[in-house]
Amino acid sequence: MKIRDILSPFTVWKNLFRDPVTINDPVRERPGAPRYRGFHKNDVKKCIGCGTCETICQNGAIDMVPVDGIAAKEGDSGLRPRIDYGRCCWCALCVDVCMTKSLTMSNDYQWIDRDPDAFRFTPGVDKKKWDDAELGYTRPDAHRLTPEERIHMQELGPETRIGSFIEIVKGYSVDEARKEADRCVSCGLCVATCPAHMAIPDYIAAIRDGDYERGLKLLYDTNPLPEVCGRVCTHKCESVCAVKHEGDPIAIRWLKRHIADQVPLDKYRAIVGAAEPATGKKVAVVGAGPAGLSAAYYLARMGHAVEIFEALPAAGGMMRYGIPEYRLPYPDLDKDIAFVKELGVKITLNTRVGKDVTLDDLRKKFDALFISTGLHLGRSTKVPGADHPKVFQSIDLLRRVTLGEDIYCPEQAIVIGGGNVAMDIARTLARIQTKKYGKVGVTLLCLETEDIMPADREEIVESREEGVVLRPGYGPTRIDTDGDRVTGTRFVRCLSVFDENGRFAPRFDQSDEIAISGAMVVESIGQGMDLSYLPDDLQKQIVFERGRPKVDRHFRTSLPWLYAGGDIVQGPDVIHGIANGHAAAVGIDIYLRGKMEQ
């Protein structure tokens, strides 16, 4: 034993005269560190209620609950996370994964209660003492648990695509699609926003799994035109996608197209299933546009005999005759229509109801009628000179292009209108000009400024790339004509399009006038419907509302056997038409089955 071993331990006593290191009031003097993962905060205004936090929580600590004063709206489910502190483990995965960065953590960590049921609260809604805490954990900028960059879609360059009507967008490869599908957080905010309520997260999951058959089946549950929708849908779903708060939204439309592209037509029947046994009831559909095809498809599946009457030489309606081929190639459209036909739907072409066959005939031969004749009448600006023969309606021109007619197309053309149809005609003209003259000479003007232009963003970008000159924010005053020639159009600056009530009431600054020269003017400011095929007595019986037939939730008009849908009810939009057709089919089915039971 060393003497040191006996003496050395007494060194502990040197602490007797050192200050104790005890914290005076630990309860109040010790705020959490700036990064401390304390109790949750939620910026309920920023939160969109996507429920991703609930999905990732391994403790099942988060419930999505409705909250007073927060209504569901597009892009916001109206739900807010309620956290159970009887479950939470403060891992902050919910904060990391939060799409809007609304969910954060304070550096507060003291919550004592006698009542075990008190530890459940909705951050941001139930007021807590840490709501205003400045410090605490927020997701570091570089820290992402979900990839934010959209997988780039291969596209034709402007130089290549301007020379032809070949489809611009190439579509994803399987690998790319899987990567893009991987970005989805499966929140489902898109489902309600999609007019057809497609099961978007589910079919995206099918892509991730590489299970295209399941994907296709999911598509056909709500949408019989996936190839079409996968290309030209207005994809409102993408505008509400939760992922957009972090970066680009999921390319839902392209993923849908990817599924349909992956499955050959001959497998469709095996995957989607055949029609149910025939009911013996017959339904006539007027117009082979999206609504008509959709209604016919679902009716046929339900076992009813369906015949579609189409005035034009091919089915597809506006999808064929309105949308240019570079956006929607005809073979893809034909693929969708082919499967509708395969289910037993009869399509009678070149038959205009009201002319080739009367509505009354149809009524006698069929048990129910669905009309979806679309908006095929162009609307005119009615400015001086608008009645000139070199002033065209975009819808007419597009139809004639599809029909293969050689349309008038000078070196300089003016397009009036800011919607997608205006873009379509402008870009169609640009292509024809390129073929004819080797250069583009299209100027597009519209009332709206660029930020509120109704056209899709990528349409605007792409048309610019293709050389179309865009002059948003102008309204036409006069079309200058010189005999059978149009020389140009005068425009004034539009100050505002809508009044304070949101009604269309443009105001102009007459002093700011410009003149655009061009040998052709195309008006593309909207379309109207032509319901002249309805006999007068029916026209009287049908109730109209704001110029459109009034329908109930099954798209039944005031006549029990007459259903209407598509653009004539809902305004121009493919996906709405499809949804209408589906809903009407359900309604007609109920109606017919009711009749059968009688």
Binding site: G49, C50, G51, E54, I62, D63, M64, V65, P66, A71, A72, K73, E74, S77, G78, L79, D84, G86, P116, D117, R120, C187, G188, L189, V191, A192, T193, H197, P201, R553, A583
Partner: protein, 176 residues
Amino acid sequence: MRELYEQLKRLFPLGEYTEQRRDLAFVTVPKDHLRPLLIHLRDREGFTHLVLLTAVDWIEEGRFQLTYLMNDRAGKRDLGLRVLIPRDGAAMEGIHDLWPTAATYQRELREMFGIDFPGSPRVNGEFILEGWTGMPPYRRDFDTKKFSEENFNHRPGRATKDPAKHMKDKLYPDEA
């Protein structure tokens, strides 16, 4: 690792070989050859350290995979031996006489997977669980969530809504 495998293959009928890393490989071994192989590895090849012994339940194939992970510190390498045994009446020869510490692993496997190691010390006694009467919990067909819900009270008052469904109900009330 590959050379070791080739070399062992001449002595023992080995199955599938997977090289996970430069210093880690897994080899499937027939049940009866495990013991001589372990002794060979321990005494000849320097794999003196039994890192772990555990099981994987491949319920779809009706088999348990026993993994004996051996470590050779001097040679800086690991070799995992996979032994596949049938799930029904699963039993295996113990190695507690080679590595006394293996007895602990075997007790756990007996309790958690129901794999018997006849003769292993205290193998039939309770190890981790107490008063457990049901299926061994680590088997794949044991559903812990269901068990937890049936056995324990959870605090009531929890309810969640699916955002997609809630939105549909709210935005399109008449479509229901």
